[in-house]
Symmetry: C2
DNA sequence: CTATCTTTGTGCACGCGTTCACAAAGACAT
DNA sequence: ATGTCTTTGTGAACGCGTGCACAAAGATAG
């Protein structure tokens, strides 16, 4: 889903599938909850249910980490928490910088989920001079001009971009130049980064559009189920006046209500 | 990535792959930008570059929608914008309700990306009586007690959950009971929903942990490249004191520095 | 020590998604 | 009309991820 992740054919034999990596945090969260309730061991079945996945998948995921777990018993909760934390690199401290302290940036700065697991908001950076010095979530906002120094001084390797889309690529370039090698991008922009830099994006608008697609499909099917053999459920409005495409032959033969040939 | 999405073997022949659906918003965004610059047509190569994907993938994606596009020329921008919008269900209005008006909820309410594409924040809901009536982003916050009525009155079918994790499942249940069939969940919780309800989750903490994993891997490889044949890069601290697992035989033979047998 | 019962770890098959590579389609020039 | 050149649309091969189903491992009881 992120941009990078297509190089190196797993240099070390330690080749944990990307899909598995994405699920480890899920397992970790479920295990932490069990740990807090002082549950000593858990079976793959139980844990899978808690994490909302298939138990076979969970076992296979864990098999990539090693043979933790005892047949006939299950997995030792504390031990597994440690192993997964270590695998994810959560036993060390990760200073994070947030660039773009608008509504979203401020919300993230205040978000508790950060500190809980090795992540520490080390710096808040914004381009607006009026913001400089203002404390947000107990941290003084610093100005973009000092970005380079801030990143270096704090040893930041993970940057979070919450700027407007227009500024995102530029900020990204500066972060990378300053030494950041992992970026979490909330701006609705496709970032281009050099080899070796990982980018993950969180795009609210895209998520909503995907939901809208399924929502529409559900509504369409429902309507079709009701009105027996009603025609296709996709003629709401006329398409915009258009030129040239004098050929329409969709795979299922439908076409927009109005189509200037 | 979401929970649901494993039922119905594509009832209608209209079987657009999930992976393709997830990319359509990306294409749409790139196309909209071109449209604003009054670019009339675009080739798969150019558009793919703008969206950050492979051009063959883009062509295959479009082929699921139909045979829009002209060989030797490319795709008509305006026409494609319309087709994708229609496919995603963006030609209609989607009233959205946000539940949990904390920092994040308020940030989302203020987020411009909503209104731009058919989505409209129809209601803000919070459990705190002190919040009731307070305007956020120009909309008065309403109380959870009225959730049912609010959803019905506004015809909301898409709900956004930005509550603390403890309240998420309960809110989810109430939303579903009130008629919501699509949920965007920002709370770090696994939601269980009945058949037919789509859930997508956005989990900041998980994204960061995935980045941390790769970050650690990069650091490890780098260190290995430097220090020639240095030992395994995973012994930071001693694991917590533990019992029972008297067998350690990881796939690559490594084991934590200290391991009480 | 043997038998039984539980639960892990994994071989295998299947399906989805990606990518290559190319034939077909059309634009455009002559 | 014919030929050339560009770009689409897609058949086919490949690789990854998922889930089934079962043998092996170990716990536990007698």
């Amino acid at each position: 889903m992120a941009t990078g992740r297509t190089h190196r054919p797993a240099t070390r034999s330690r080749g944990i599938p990307e899909a598995t990596v994405a699920r480890l945090p899920l397992y970790l969260r479920a295990l932490t909850a069990l740990s807090e309730r002082s549950v000593p061991t858990v079976s793959s079945e139980e844990l899978a249910a808690a994490a909302g996945v298939n138990s076979a998948k969970l076992r296979k995921d864990f098999s990539y980490l090693g043979s933790y777990g005892t047949r006939g018993v299950g997995y030792d909760v504390e031990y597994l928490v440690y192993q997964i934390s270590r695998e994810l690199g959560l036993t060390q401290d990760w200073p994070v910088a947030i660039v773009g302290i608008g509504n979203l940036g401020a919300a993230l700065a205040n978000y508790g989920g950060f500190a809980s697991r090795g992540f520490r908001v080390a710096a808040l950076i914004d381009a607006d001079p009026a913001m400089t010095g203002t404390p947000v979530a107990g941290i003084a906002v610093q100005h973009t001009d000092d970005l380079d120094r801030i990143i270096s001084d704090n040893g930041v390797s993970i940057g979070v971009i919450t700027t407007p889309p227009g500024a995102a690529q530029q900020v990204c370039d500066r972060l990378v130049a300053a030494g950041v090698t992992s970026i979490l991008n909330f701006a609705p922009t496709v970032l281009s980064v050099p080899e070796g830099v990982d980018v993950r994006k969180v795009d609210l608008s895209i998520e909503l559009q995907i939901l809208a697609f399924h929502e529409q499909r559900k509504a369409g099917e429902e309507a079709a189920a009701d009105g027996a053999a009603a025609e296709d459920p996709d003629e709401d409005q006329a398409p915009p006046v258009r030129a040239t495409p004098a050929h329409r032959k969709g795979p299922d033969g439908d076409m927009p209500a109005v189509m200037p040939a």
